[in-house]
């Protein structure tokens, strides 16, 4: 479910040129200001093992939501992926305690969260027993089919 704010194409061009210089020189940051335009380009060299999805050849308008996320969890053995499109809720009602928190031990079949689809609240059970090590979604967030929700391992 990706949206994009499109920058002015000429500025986009300039940003990409600067990014290339950044890459080439090994700098972590370039800032430039001219003719009413200020641009700052930075690269977080510390980021470890972050998968930056290569732009597909014909990509222009929209990053495919199926492309790997910044941190690709799709092959994580403890992944709980969304079985449906809908809106994720971490608690049974607004203000109530969340079903699970990071660090909780859960048993197979225990409700991890709720996904609302077509006015129906669907309880999403844990596919296995184990510890909740990551909660990826936030309360009220729309999710698509296959989207990573939590990690239980």
């Amino acid at each position: 479910m990706s949206k994009e704010e499109k920058p002015d194409p000429l500025e986009g061009k300039m940003i990409r040129d600067l990014a290339a210089i950044l890459e080439e020189t090994g700098l972590s940051e370039i800032e430039i200001e001219k003719a009413g335009l200020r641009l700052r380009v930075a690269r977080n060299i510390q980021m470890v093992a972050a998968t930056v999805a290569a732009a597909p050849a014909a990509h222009t308008a929209n990053a495919p939501s199926g492309a790997p996320k910044a941190t690709d969890l799709s092959s994580h053995p403890g992944l709980v992926a969304s079985p449906m499109v809908g809106t994720a809720y971490v608690a049974s009602s607004p203000g109530a305690n969340p079903f699970v928190k990071i660090g909780d031990m859960v048993t197979e079949g225990q409700t991890l969260l709720i996904i609302e689809a077509m006015k129906t609240m669907n309880q999403i059970p844990s596919p296995r027993s184990g510890r909740v090590t990551q909660i990826i979604i936030s309360d009220g967030q729309p999710v698509e089919f296959g989207e990573p929700l939590m990690v239980v391992e």
Partner: protein, 448 residues
């Protein structure tokens, strides 16, 4: 106008709708299965939602997922394309119940035209010609002769309980009728235990001609002329033309008036197509398609009217901004469906498109969601794209089609391009002289 439309389809038609929406300033939401995460229709939309795994029943036919995708993205309307949920009356209803506009006809009309028997009765009442017949069993030869004379020879004697060609006899004149009746009755008795038969006009070498209509919710119905889709293989259209080589302006206006009158009476909304068999100057209703059709671009090429734009406009409650007299037909257009199939056996050929280069230049249009490096998934139809060519007359159009086919490069999968390269040199095709049986006969001669 809508701010955001969800496109409940994939492939070239999702691209087509996306293009129309963007040209109207409407934001788009693509849906896709996990198999289509890298598809062009996903890349080109403003937003996308993965609605399920590869099988269509779990993704592109998954009504709850699609309705939820509308809700979570805030799409105000859904365009169903063709196929999938486009003629599912229940889907149209559910969408409406959720306060989302279905870009298509009223659910009742989808349902009516989906029932082939009821549809035939309804359009007959509305004045659309159907295949004439005895309207029930014929019990004696004198009645049969009277009815056959009224229908006109040749007539088909069909077992009422029939099927698969058994109990079917053709009588080409009154002298053949008694024998045909007797034979059909005895075959029917033997095959089905019931000797009742009925009569129907027998069409020998009909063409498939269909009329495109557009209707708004203020009672205006416009026709946009006909398309000739006679070149079919196993009831799948492979080549479509506008106009038909068999119709002149007078015949076009006449059938167009019949159709628009009928749909005005019906109170139809949106785009739709009435399909006919056509023989010896007469039209016989087959069915009505209550959606956009694959072959709609040939109509766009000769009328200059963007059918998807009009479809979205009338779905939003807008009125058609022109009258029947404003519709002019300019030149000739032909569409070839380029499928990922063996051009002789039509065996599907999914897989990686290593190189994809489309023809260009004057009068050439390609509607496709393919690109170099695209992997055609095995789960859906085999349509790679549509080559649509326009010329100032049919001859110019054919010459342009020939040169366009010579420029089209699709490497890595088998395609039907070689079939079309053969067709453009066939004298019958060059002359526009073909019926719905022509292509099957041609393929029999070619493949043996």
């Amino acid at each position: 106008m809508f701010d955001k439309v969800l496109i409940a389809n994939r492939g070239e038609i999702a691209m087509r709708v996306n293009r129309a929406c963007h040209e109207m300033g409407i934001k788009t939401v693509a849906i896709h299965s996990t198999a289509d995460a890298n598809a062009m229709h996903v890349r080109m939309a403003d937003e996308s939602v993965c609605v399920g795994p590869p099988p269509a029943r779990d993704s592109y036919l998954n009504i709850p997922a699609i309705v939820t995708a509308c809700e979570v993205t805030g799409a105000q309307a859904v365009h169903p394309g063709y196929g999938f949920l486009s003629e599912n009356a229940r889907f149209a209803e559910i969408v409406g119940e959720h306060g989302i506009v279905f870009i298509g006809p009223k659910p009742d009309h989808i349902r009516l035209m989906g029932d082939k028997i009821e549809a035939k009765k309804a359009v007959k009442r509305l004045g659309i010609p159907v295949v004439p017949g005895s309207d029930g069993g014929v019990t004696n030869d004198d009645d049969a002769k009277r009815i056959a004379a009224a229908i006109g020879y040749p007539v088909l004697v069909k077992a009422a309980a029939g099927g698969g060609g058994r109990g079917m006899k053709v009588a080409r004149s009154e002298s053949e009728l008694s024998l045909a009746l007797a034979t059909a009755r005895s075959e029917a008795k033997a095959a089905f235990g019931d000797d009742s038969v009925y009569l129907e006009k027998y069409l020998q070498l009909p063409r498939h001609i269909e009329v495109q209509v557009l209707a708004d919710n203020q009672g205006k119905v416009i026709h946009l002329g006909e398309r000739d889709c006679s070149l079919q293989r196993r009831h799948q259209k492979v080549w479509e033309e506008a106009g038909s080589p068999a119709l002149n302006a007078e015949a076009r206006d006449k059938i167009g008036a019949v159709v628009t009158n009928a749909l005005t009476k019906l109170g139809y909304l949106g785009v739709g197509t009435i399909e006919f068999l056509y023989e010896n100057g007469e039209f016989y209703f087959i069915e009505m398609n209550t959606r956009l059709q694959v072959e709609h671009p040939v109509t766009e090429m000769i009328t200059g009217i963007d059918l998807v734009r009009e479809q979205v406009r009338v779905a939003h409650g807008g009125s058609i901004g022109f009258d029947q007299s404003d519709v002019t037909f300019s030149g000739h257009a032909i569409e070839c469906r380029i499928n990922a199939e063996n051009p002789l056996t039509f065996r599907p050929s999914p897989g990686l498109i290593k190189d994809f280069h489309v023809p260009g230049g004057l009068g050439v249009r390609v509607d496709s969601a393919a690109y170099s490096g695209y992997k055609i998934p095995p789960y859906y139809d085999s349509l790679i794209g549509k080559l649509i060519v326009h010329g100032r007359n049919r001859n110019e159009c054919m010459m342009r089609l020939r040169r366009s086919l010579s420029e089209f490069v699709i490497d890595g999968v088998e395609t039907t391009i070689p079939l079309f390269q053969s067709l453009v040199t066939e004298p019958d095709i060059v002359n526009g002289d073909y019926s719905i049986h022509w292509l099957e006969n041609f393929l029999k001669r070619k493949v043996g």
